[in-house]
């Protein structure tokens, strides 16, 4: 699928889709969306890029192996779940900031949990896809 149209489009689609996936991630607290869907969307962005330019080019634009995102995301989710334990609350209790942050709104520990999910999903999906395409 190395048409010039697709190739050119993919260069613009990659940042757009990544941005959109972050939007979906942030939207997910009260509305449809969230870490899982956002993560899938972000990995689709990379998959489209690899369709157009070949898997080696896609690997080049990432400075590290996507598998590294798995423990990072898990750790983020784990810490945000376990954080309340240090304040004497139970596991997974939502902790919220007193004041709202501009644009995003009030930030709570749920956002970090979701971000963790987002990273794990990207890591797992891309690792699977890269491993399969290496075997072909």
């Amino acid at each position: 699928m190395k048409t010039i149209i697709f190739k050119t489009a993919s260069a613009y689609l990659l940042p757009l889709l990544l941005l959109f996936s972050i939007f979906i991630l942030l939207r997910g607290h009260y509305l449809p969306g969230g870490g899982f869907v956002g993560g899938l969307m972000a990995s689709i962005a990379f998959v489209i890029h690899s369709f157009a330019n070949g898997i080696d080019k896609t690997k080049n634009i990432m400075t590290f192996h996507p598998g590294f995102l798995m423990p990072v995301g898990l750790l983020l989710a784990l810490v945000s779940g376990a954080l309340p334990l240090f304040f004497g609350d139970t596991f997974m209790t939502g902790l919220w900031m007193e004041n709202a942050v501009p644009v995003i709104g009030k930030v709570g520990s749920a956002l970090f949990f979701d971000t963790g999910v987002y990273l794990v999903v990207i890591g797992v999906t891309l690792t699977i896809i890269f491993t399969i395409s290496e075997g072909l």
């Binding site: 423990p71 898990l74 750790l75 784990l78 309340p84 609350d89 139970t90 596991f91 209790t93």
Partner: protein, 502 residues
């Protein structure tokens, strides 16, 4: 009593897994993290058991959502005892893996997945929510799929297909049962369900749901007639993985049976007869299956089935004494079965085969090791005062008290079958003069291993043998604990009060 920290045994395992994933490429650091992590997990679970034993049932409402709406974690004596046993078996297998797991498997993430499995097991024991129990079961089976197939040998894949198919079927049945139960009561909290199920007038529907749970858990714990996936798959992965499977995976099904059939569904005459008959056939089919096998690991796999029958018989009799026996036997069985698979792996490292016909003269060549291996073997038979004896004694006492002659007869028959099988295994593997075995090229023999690896394998067997001896000689303490657990199971008001408040 509210205690946010009872979830620590679960999240600590996840933490170890994350640490292990960060050091994906360095196998020595992974081994170090796994062993020290398992040690800390053991300390945590000992603290949990002590706390629960002195201060009563501890609960945690995840996210601060009160029961019956949120997910509740409950640590009563039963759960925390099993969490402790999981930690003990986890530590032993982790040390054993240092010696026996090949580097290729470590490279594909053996250790992280192993700790995720332990996390799933601890979670299943601690949860007080039936749907959450299903989720932990899923975590357990997904991790076990990976462990079973990691390395990708032909025999492993073949075993894994049977294992995966049957376990997915069991999950579907379990999930269906949960859905029906939710439709009947509108609740998923086990304590709440206990109250609501008792009020349902349509007993027929309740019994159907109960049987669905029985089938679902029955497949997972390898109860007759759906046990055949177990001996078809447990002998295929490396011995360290078989050890954790044989020790804990089927036992989590037994735990679920004991919990659900005392707390939610109190068996009526029909249901306890069904459980009893299943138990009898499980004892028979496991025992007879083990008789005709030649592969050492298959013999042990069939013995697992046979002894699941003992615990089920304890539940079938349904008196606090018999259930105490089942719990005592569960405690003993987790330690011994884990140990036996490790023993078989060690013998393989010396001889290069699992076939009992080809093995022999192990006692002549390694007398000290053979004496060490005799401990789990004879504990399994239940020679007094070793650990297997006391559990069976309690089950028999309970059955005689209820004049349940059938269970008495078959438990004794099962014990004699076990005795015969172990005696045969002992004489074939240890006493008989074995033929000279040809050196196989693809096996790394014990003497070619580094001293640290050798010590790790023998040390973990020694550790579990000591625990077995401890259970046998400290039987009074374990017995008091299991009788206390059984009384709490038979009369769940304490449990319900702790979860729901009043």
């Amino acid at each position: 009593m509210n205690n946010p920290y009872i979830v620590l045994p679960v999240i600590f395992q996840l933490f170890i897994a994350v640490l292990l994933m960060f050091s994906w490429n360095s196998k020595n650091i992974q081994k170090l993290i796994s062993v020290t992590g398992s040690l800390i997990a053991l300390v945590i679970s000992i603290l949990l058991l002590v706390k629960v034993n002195t201060e009563g049932i501890q609960i945690m409402q995840a996210g601060g959502w009160a029961a019956p709406f949120g997910i509740t974690f409950v640590a009563d004596t039963f759960s925390s005892l099993l969490v402790l046993l999981t930690a003990i078996a986890g530590l032993a297998v982790s040390v054993y893996s240092v010696g026996s797991i090949r580097n290729a498997r470590v490279k594909f993430g053996y250790f992280p997945i192993f700790h995720l499995l332990i996390m799933g097991l601890s979670g299943a024991f601690l949860t007080g929510d039936i749907f959450n129990l299903y989720v932990w079961f899923e975590i357990i089976i997904i991790s076990s799929f990976v462990l079973l197939t990691i390395g990708g040998e032909k025999a492993q894949i073949e075993g894994a297909i049977k294992y995966v198919t049957m376990n997915l079927l069991a999950s579907v049945i379990f999930l269906t049962a949960i859905a029906i139960l939710y439709g009947l009561t509108g609740s998923l909290n086990m304590a709440d369900l206990s109250l609501r199920v008792a009020e349902i007038e349509n007993r027929g529907l309740v019994n159907v749901t109960a049987v669905l749970f029985l089938v679902g858990f029955g497949i997972k714990s390898a109860v007759f007639p759906l046990y055949f996936w177990l001996p078809a798959s447990y002998h295929t992965p490396p011995p360290a993985i078989s050890a954790i499977f044989g020790g804990l995976l089927t036992k989590v099904g037994v735990y679920a049976l004991l919990r659900v059939f005392t707390l939610i569904f109190v068996p009526d005459a029909f249901l306890s007869t069904v459980i009893m008959v299943l138990a009898i056939f499980t004892i028979l089919s496991g025992g007879i299956g083990a008789l005709i096998q030649n592969n050492m690991r298959k013999v042990i796999s069939y013995l697992i089935i046979c002894h699941i029958g003992f615990m089920l018989a304890g539940l079938g009799v349904y008196s606090s004494l018999a259930i105490a026996g089942a719990i005592f036997y569960l405690v003993h069985d987790i330690v011994v079965k884990t140990n036996l698979f490790m023993v078989s792996g060690l013998i393989f490292k010396f001889k290069g085969t699992y076939s009992m016909r080809l093995l022999g003269s192990f006692y002549k060549e390694h007398p000290k090791l053979s004496l060490l291996m005799a401990v789990p073997l004879f504990s399994l038979v239940g020679i007094p005062p070793l650990s297997g004896f006391w559990g069976k004694l309690l089950i028999l006492q309970g059955a005689i008290e209820q004049t349940n002659i059938l269970v008495v007869v078959f438990v004794i028959l099962g014990s004699f079958l076990t005795l015969f099988i172990i005696a045969r295994l002992w004489s074939e593997v240890f006493w008989k003069d074995g033929p000279e075995l040809p050196e196989k090229k693809h096996i790394k023999y014990f003497n070619a291993l580094k001293p640290l690896k050798r010590r790790a394998m023998i040390g973990s067997i020694l550790f579990l043998s000591l625990i077995s001896l401890g259970i046998g000689f400290g039987a009074e303490w374990v017995m008091r604990l299991s009788i206390k657990i059984a009384e709490n199971l038979m009369d769940p008001t304490q449990y319900i009060q702790a979860v729901l408040g009043n």
